[in-house]
């Protein structure tokens, strides 16, 4: 296990290096001059030249690459062209808000997804199953930014039950709609997946044994089957993390939630390249580390799996 962990950690190094190279490359090919977008169209040639020198933009690409790698590894993601605030600092303020939204969404989607999936499997091929799976596919096919908008229209604008946007004082009423929006698609995925795993598990020998010895059906499902369903399901929850980071960009932009996603969207509108590059890099690093954690969790949950 320790050996496996070390090997996995070592494998992350080239991947992260590749991620950094790719991010650098994307920023390098950005059309137009970032200096112009920082100083505006009417900047004097003198100022432009000075800033170019300051940002090392007139050095050859490999010097730029080296200095980029050097500072990125030390955790310096550069400064916003517009606010001059370091990207790392801004992200450390925004990420906790996104985490709060994402964790609520994950809890919601797990409870909804797993229970709907199990109910669907238990009532396989009945109207309950068909209705649940139709709804699941509908949610998967609905753009979440549009779904969020519909929720705002009905529950905030028409009924006035929830605030329209923002995080306000941080109370629960601000959290409910965005978390529901962000979690709905994952809940639907999870329901479909849980159902298919459950249908497999329920045909296993040990389930037949449990039934044969007279265990009540409720217990068979909730005790014997559920445990074995939760192992694969928990990895899928973890692997879904990317969809939460993607979804946060769209959800936060709809609900004006002051997190990571909204930060990225604002940077897109203002063409603040440093912020975009830094955020995308951080998104990838979070994703890579979480995937590793999910793999570890998998081993911890399932004693049948051993890595050597």
């Amino acid at each position: 296990m320790t050996q496996y962990l070390i090997r996995r950690l070592l494998l992350i190094v080239p991947v992260l290096l590749g991620v950094m190279l790719l991010t650098f490359f994307l920023m390098y090919i950005v059309p137009g001059d970032p200096v112009l977008s920082m100083l505006g169209q009417h900047a004097s040639d003198d100022n432009i030249a000075r800033l170019r020198e300051q940002l090392k933009l007139n050095r050859p690409w490999y010097v730029q690459l080296f200095s980029y790698l050097n500072r990125t590894i030390r955790g310096d993601l550069g400064k916003s062209y517009l606010t001059h605030l370091p990207v790392t600092e801004a992200l450390s303020q925004k990420l906790p808000n996104t985490a709060r939204l994402a964790v609520t969404a994950i809890v919601f989607s797990t409870i909804m997804g797993v229970s709907i999936g199990i109910i669907s499997a238990v009532f396989q091929n009945t109207w309950i199953d068909h209705a649940a799976m139709t709804f699941a596919l509908l949610f998967i096919s609905t753009p979440i930014f549009w779904f969020g908008m519909v929720l705002i229209f009905f529950f905030s604008m028409t009924l006035g039950w929830f605030p329209i946007s923002g995080m306000g004082d941080g109370s629960l009423k601000y959290l409910i709609l965005p978390a529901f929006t962000l979690g709905s698609r994952s809940a639907a995925f999870l329901a479909r997946y849980t159902r298919s795993v459950m249908l497999e598990v329920i045909r296993e020998d040990y389930i037949r044994t449990a039934r044969a010895k007279g265990v009540k059906e409720k217990l068979v499902v909730l005790k014997h089957a559920l445990k074995n369903v939760l192992i694969p399901v928990s990895t899928v929850i973890g692997l879904n993390l990317a969809s939460y980071l993607n979804g946060a960009v769209l959800t936060e932009s709809i609900f004006a939630w002051p997190g990571f996603g909204r930060y990225v969207v604002e940077a897109i509108q203002k063409r603040d390249f440093q912020v975009i590059a830094g955020s995308v890099l951080v998104g990838a690093v979070i994703f890579v580390l979480f995937n590793l954690m999910v793999d570890m969790l998998y081993v911890a949950l399932d004693p049948r799996i051993k890595y050597d």
Partner: protein, 297 residues
């Protein structure tokens, strides 16, 4: 011919002269839900192809006397901020979605098949190299990565094709790779080699036709994903630019009039959901018909 290489017992189930495809089509026809999906997809494609005949107005015709009009007999789905007919814009928007769906899938299918087949067939260092690239691309949350590419290339519909193609080929590559790895040790490949076929012929004339089922499933599902991704990018202002009637950007434009003109953003969203649902239903059905072993997810 697809079953020449397999054990005889497997051939028994299929009537003589009946190809895998005909058998799959039979299964698909029996699947009511998949047929609903197929009909939805055919309607979507028909709308895109015959858009000029269906749309009652020019989608870009500005009419400042009928700004933000609610749905009525003259404007079935209302009008937008410039007085443009929303029904016509949504009808023409289907062309954007259809072209995104198909072009992105063709790009990612081409790159993914080439990379995946090389990795799966040769294994070793080639596999190692290609799979590390795949790992790196897949380390980025997909939307964030496409955002970065779109920002670097500049917003336009053509760049959407490139950005989504660059991101999504990795999934096809993984599927094709595992199919090639499964097939390369089979007897029919040895036989083809013994007959003096070169690697290229073995890969694309012999192995590839045996990998078509998962590729077709991934193509269909991929169209749904591409349409959704394009809508998200356009919603963020990174996709097709005004006045191109992309569904995602219509939703984005309508958002600020949500209180006074909710239909503005409502209908293009329904169009996206309808189209993506159609491709997903069809994809589910194809998976059941072509590859019953694949896990439903």
């Amino acid at each position: 011919m697809f079953f020449n290489n397999d054990k005889k017992s497997q051939v028994v189930n299929i009537k003589r002269g009946e190809s895998l495809w005909r058998n799959a089509w039979k299964k698909l026809k029996r699947n009511k839900v998949a047929m609903i999906g197929l009909i939805m997809v055919v309607i979507f494609i028909a709308v895109a192809v015959f858009a000029p005949l269906i749309a009652p107005y020019d989608p870009n015709e500005i009419d400042l006397f009928s700004v933000l009009k609610e749905p009525s007999l003259t404007h079935w789905l209302g009008t937008d901020y410039y007085g443009r007919d929303l029904f016509s814009r949504i009808v023409f928007g289907s062309r954007i979605s259809l072209s995104v769906g198909i072009i992105v899938q063709v790009i990612s299918l081409t790159i993914g098949t080439i990379m995946g087949s090389l990795a799966g067939y040769y294994g070793g260092k080639v596999d190692m190299f290609i799979m590390r690239i795949v790992d790196i691309v897949m380390s980025f949350p997909s939307l964030l990565f496409t955002i970065a590419i779109m920002v670097a290339l500049g917003p336009s519909l053509y760049n959407v094709f490139i950005a989504l193609g660059v991101v999504w080929w990795t999934r096809t590559a993984r599927i094709v790779r595992s199919e090639f790895m499964r097939n390369r040790e089979r007897d029919y490949v040895d036989a083809a080699r013994a007959l003096g076929n070169n690697d290229f012929k073995i890969m694309y004339k012999h192995i590839l036709p045996n990998c078509m089922a998962p590729i077709i499933i991934s193509f269909t599902m991929g169209i749904a994903t591409s349409i959704m991704s394009e809508a998200s990018l356009s919603f963020l202002g990174l996709g097709a630019q005004e006045p191109t009637p992309s569904w995602g950007s219509i939703i984005n434009n309508g958002l600020q009039y949500l209180r006074v003109a909710p239909w503005y953003s409502l209908f293009p969203g329904l169009a996206i959901a309808y189209t993506v649902l159609g491709f997903n239903l069809l994809g589910d059905g194809l998976r059941d018909a072509l590859d019953p072993k694949m896990k439903e997810f």
